[in-house]
Amino acid sequence: MNTTIAALTFRALLGRRRVLLLLPMPALLIGLTLIAQSSPAFIDEWGPVVFAQLGLGVILPLTALVVGSSVLGLEIEDGTITHLLTKPLPRHEIIVAKLAVAWSVTTVATAVPLTAAALITGSAALAAGLVLGAAVGALAYTAGFLALSLLTRRPVAVGLVYIILWENLLTTFVAGTRILSIREQAVALSDSVAGTTWLPTHLNPVAALILAAVLTAIGILGATARLRSYSLSGETS
């Protein structure tokens, strides 16, 4: 992996104000868990809402969207991508380094609060399951959003449409759309390790893992192909 690109991307990403967007969501997750845990309500009632719907259904995709669309997208926006493009680097090397950064940042930013929340309920298995789901989900999500940042000028908008319309709306009405929902894959994988009833899943974990791998591969290949024939646009004087 190209560590120079990765190190530069880390600095660029963590130096941006945009990264602050990642802070309130984990705080919300941990806060809600604390409140729910101390309330008389049963965990069977709030568990699915906090871990599946909020944790893997909202925090994971939104974090991946902010990070995945930024690692290369910010450089496209401010024009510094020219520096990267005018180097004798195979384009997959750039994509892999960018994805590695996006994946690790997203995984840390989601797995840490999810683990904390799971440990509040006292279940180490739940924590392990959520870390697995978050890690695999983060990879598929960031690969997709990284590709989106090269395919469209509005990766955040398109990403939100996928998260809200496809994963949260369409999957509840049309069962077949679930196989292309990264959220479903993350929940299925988490559930296979956690062994609780709080992660309602419709997918077999093996299928989920294969589907996540396929989506990741499509994202990487798509992004690489797109970067290979990337054309500088804008000023044409």
Binding site: T4, G79, L85, L232
Partner: protein, 303 residues
């Protein structure tokens, strides 16, 4: 020694043709790409640098296509006009990152050498976000030179530079050209091109308007028809006499004075004073009418 070759290159964006059937060869030495703003200079440079594919035709660097071929960046350096520079880095870090991405055997000394060339001094350890426009420009030049490229492409390199930096930059390009490197830079200012390069390619409205030695281009430019506004003690009589001059092609009586169209700048300006003195007409004003660079270029296109 590397040659850049464009053959019947066109580039369009939707219905807009930015570059239209350009064929030109850039040889070792310094070549200027001259043209008014919006003529398609940047598009041509981006196509040469492989950042844009031609819609038609071929762009070859040392016989190899430049688009979708990252390997050309081993021999090519590019300084674009206003691309961003990551402000959170210092110039030293920025150029060093460039050297590392080029996978040079000794990135530190390559970065030091490139930064020495542009003479940023102590500022190399300051964040780029604190730099002036000229300093950013020089940082980008250093980054483009870090791998000692045989081909250097610069888009409006003198924009935002003060006169001293400009001289320094010209000197640098001169030396690199004399070393046998292939250097192509764009400019919309004739004087810059004239001072720096023997060979000029003139591009107007996406087409190659003129190509060759700058003296030839210069002659085309100075010998073009000029329009003067002349005020005198007796405009009407001056008009009659001027019409007798071979160097004058048209005279128009205007409330503000005489509008005179001259075929030849030199002959006319010499003839004017002689004729006026001979007929005892006092000249109170001789103004070359404002001609935009665009007019000059469109005249060249018509040639």
């Amino acid at each position: 020694m590397i040659t850049v070759e464009l053959t019947n290159v066109s580039r369009w964006y939707g219905n807009v043709v930015a570059v239209n059937d350009v064929t030109l060869t850039v040889r070792p030495g310094v070549t200027g790409l001259l043209g008014p703003n919006g003529a398609g200079k940047t598009t041509v440079l981006h196509m040469i640098a492989g950042l844009l594919g031609p819609s038609q035709g071929t762009v070859l660097i040392d016989g190899k296509p430049s688009f979708r071929n990252p390997d050309i960046y081993r021999t090519l350096g590019l300084v674009t006009e206003n691309e961003g520079v990551p402000g959170f880095l210092t110039a030293w870090e920025f150029v060093l990152v460039g050297a590392r991405l080029h996978k040079l055997p000794d990135p530190e000394s390559a970065a030091r050498r490139a930064l020495d060339i542009v003479e940023l001094g102590d500022a190399v350890n300051r964040r780029i976000s604190t730099y002036s426009k000229g300093m950013r420009q020089r940082t980008r030049v250093a980054a483009a030179l870090v791998h000692d490229p045989a081909v250097l492409i610069l888009d409006e390199p003198f924009n935002g530079m003060d006169p001293r930096q400009r001289l320094h930059m010209m000197d640098l390009l001169h030396r690199m050209g004399a070393d046998g490197r292939t250097i192509l830079f764009s400019s919309h200012i004739l004087e810059e091109v004239e001072q720096l390069s023997g060979v000029v390619q003139v591009i107007v409205a996406g087409r190659l308007a003129a190509s060759g030695d700058y003296r030839h281009i210069r002659r085309l430019m100075t010998n073009r028809p000029h329009v003067f506004l002349i005020q005198s003690s007796d405009d009407r009589r001056l008009a009659t006499v001027l019409m007798g001059q071979i160097s004058v092609s048209a005279v128009e009586l205007d409330p503000a004075g005489l509008q005179v169209r001259a075929n030849d700048y030199g002959t006319f300006t010499r003839a004017l004073s002689t004729v006026a003195r001979h007929h005892s007409i006092r000249l109170t004003g001789v103004l070359p009418s404002d001609e935009s660079l665009e007019d000059v270029f469109s005249y060249l296109v018509a040639q």
